[in-house]
């Protein structure tokens, strides 16, 4: 009898201390994440500006979409959802995410397969592969901007030597190639992350699996397709989702490598320009809110689809 009461008092004590331990973190997250998010959404329904945030008044969905009649039976739509530049930046973001994540997965898979072999100097190769990941995005952007310089860039020099191009390309300045430039730098920088996640999945494939196929004389490519790929698929999928969510909010690289061009402006860049450069605080907040909605939907879909083990019951 006494045993059970002390037990329950003990567990009640522990539950109380749990909340005590969680409180500082939860309060911090509430102030830096939940509250600001709520305020951003609120601002998107007001006429707030940078200098007059406190006097912001509710204006409904005007920042998103509004039909203004000119009185003679004609009119026009205004708001983020009616802005061609917004839709262009949505397109840019989606295009950027799909292309960069696809290439990163492909290259990441190749690098992971290489690193999963045992060979001399593997440790050094793995360290070298990590370097692009460790370099700050801004530094990568500047390094590549210099390499892609139209007159003195080493990239044009290489391509001309090999005969790939006949005259220098203004990689970052020309609207035709600006997006390609952004993609090259992003793929270069983020492939290591992909490779490591896939490598971790590869290393969980039991070795005996390969021994067995080797004995049976099954060709390597078939082993990869029929044995390895299905086994690492979960790891690859998680990596793809993480990277996609990351790619959808891309900001620094685009902002620094190709500033101010319709060809590469992404949703984050569009929002930030309106918030702080054009003094359209409420309008920019509306764009931020839309981006948040997109990412939230994908995240929720992902969590539901994988039914993550959050309670820790299976561990």
């Amino acid at each position: 009898m006494t045993g059970t009461t002390t037990q329950s008092r003990l567990s009640r004590n522990r539950t109380r201390s749990a909340w005590l331990f969680l409180a500082p973190m939860l309060v911090t997250l509430a102030i830096v994440a939940a509250w600001p998010l709520g305020r951003t959404i609120w601002f998107s329904f007001t006429d707030a500006s940078l200098d007059m945030m406190n006097e912001a008044r509710w204006v409904g969905i005007r920042n998103y979409l509004e039909y203004v009649s000119w009185g003679d039976g004609q009119g026009a739509y205004y708001g983020v959802l009616a802005d061609a530049r917004w839709w262009r930046s949505v397109w840019n973001t989606v295009m950027f995410s799909v292309v960069s994540v696809s290439f990163e997965t492909l290259f990441g898979l190749v690098i992971a397969l290489v690193l999963n072999q045992s060979f001399k100097g593997r440790g050094i190769v793995r360290a070298a592969v990590l370097i692009p990941w460790a370099i700050p995005t801004i530094v990568s952007a500047k390094m590549w901007a210099w390499m892609m310089h139209d007159q003195f860039g080493i990239l044009n020099d290489m391509f001309e030597t090999v005969g790939l191009i006949s005259k220098p390309i203004a990689w970052t300045a020309s609207p035709d190639t600006a997006m390609i430039a952004v993609l090259i730098v992003d793929i270069w920088k983020t492939t290591p992350f992909m490779a490591l996640l896939i490598l971790a999945g590869l290393q969980m494939v039991p070795r005996d699996m390969y021994e067995a196929t080797k004995l049976d004389g099954i060709p390597a490519f078939r082993v990869f397709r029929k044995v390895t790929l299905p086994l690492i698929m979960p790891a690859v999928l998680v990596a793809v989702v993480f990277r996609t969510l990351d790619a959808l909010r891309v900001f620094d690289l685009v902002y620094v490598l190709t500033p101010n061009t319709d060809a590469t402006r992404t949703m984050s860049v569009y929002a930030r320009e309106n918030l702080f450069d054009y003094d359209q605080f409420a309008y920019g907040s509306a764009a931020s809110t839309l981006l948040f909605l997109v990412i939230a939907l994908i995240t929720i879909g992902f969590i539901m689809a994988t039914r993550m083990d959050l309670e820790g019951e299976n561990s």
């Binding site: 003990l10 500082p24 951003t40 070298a128 592969v129 996640l197 971790a200 981006l291």
Partner: protein, 276 residues
């Protein structure tokens, strides 16, 4: 014998290409940083001379030194605060059963998916409210949004993997939860804490959007923004030598960390993600 030889050559060629593409841009940045004057505008693949004038130029401007210190200060304090908050929180999440635990972890995890831009306008208001605009504390404060969820997540996964027996004796002795954390868990958690601390440090050191928005004067800026803002008097006078020297200065410590703590960083990056 023959097909094997070609296979091995092909494999090592692939390895060589992987290494080359990974390190070449940084190598080229170092090379450019050591050139000045006319040499800068000739494409060289190998270093011709060692000219340190770009480094001298950057470091003699007092403001760049100050900006490096700003970055060191912000990243260090961010690591200390987020580790402190995360250790206690993840103890509760990993070792104590209570209602709503899964939902709570889900909430914390979903914060790490927040696009920074979505909180930017709200956070700007909060920072003005606390009078932190143009103060380094605005960054320390706002960086919690990405360091905390990540540290909590990784440390929780780590603590869950420890067997229940290790704290049983302490519970029997009637030790308080705080004592259990300090005496039982902390000694075991150093590896995980070094890993998460490193990743949080790198993340804070590299952050750009908040630093661009919440700081307004040169002397307060952190290095990523400082580098992004180095410019010449015209589009044709961009001081590439200086930019590359500054880039190398802020990147070398990170490359060093990666080479030394390679294993820890890899395990930290893949923790959580693969387990899910």
């Amino acid at each position: 014998m023959k097909p094997n030889f070609w296979k091995r050559t092909g494999f090592y060629a692939l390895v060589a290409f992987i290494v080359l593409q990974a390190i070449f841009p940084f190598y080229y940045a170092v090379l450019t940083s050591l050139e000045s004057g006319q040499a800068l505008f000739e494409v060289n693949y190998l270093p011709k001379k060692l000219d340190l004038s770009n480094y001298a130029g950057m470091l003699s401007q007092g403001v760049f030194g100050k900006q490096i210190l700003n970055s060191v200060f912000v990243a260090t304090v961010v690591v200390i605060i987020s580790l402190f908050l995360a250790v206690t929180a993840s103890f509760a999440l990993a070792r104590i059963r209570f209602r709503g635990r899964g939902l709570l972890l889900l909430t914390v995890l979903s914060v790490s998916m927040f696009p920074q831009i979505a909180v930017l306008s709200g956070l700007f208001e909060v920072i003005r409210f606390f009078n932190l605009f143009n103060s380094l504390w605005s960054l320390i404060f706002s960086y919690m949004i990405f360091t905390l969820p990540f540290t909590v997540w990784v440390l929780t996964t780590f603590m869950r993997s420890l067997p229940i027996e290790i704290e049983e004796a302490a519970i029997m002795d009637g030790a308080s939860s705080f004592t259990i954390i300090r005496k039982v868990f902390l000694p075991l958690m150093w590896p995980a804490m070094v890993t998460t601390g490193l990743l949080a440090f790198i993340h804070a050191w590299n952050e750009f959007l908040f630093a661009l928005t919440f700081l307004s004067t040169d002397g307060q800026r952190t290095v990523p923004v400082a580098i992004a803002m180095i410019s010449g008097s015209s589009e044709f006078e961009v001081p590439w030598g200086n930019i590359m020297a500054a880039s190398v200065i802020v990147t070398l410590p990170l490359v060093g960390l990666v080479l030394i703590f390679q294993r820890k960083i890899v395990s930290g990056l893949t923790a959580g993600a693969v387990k899910g």
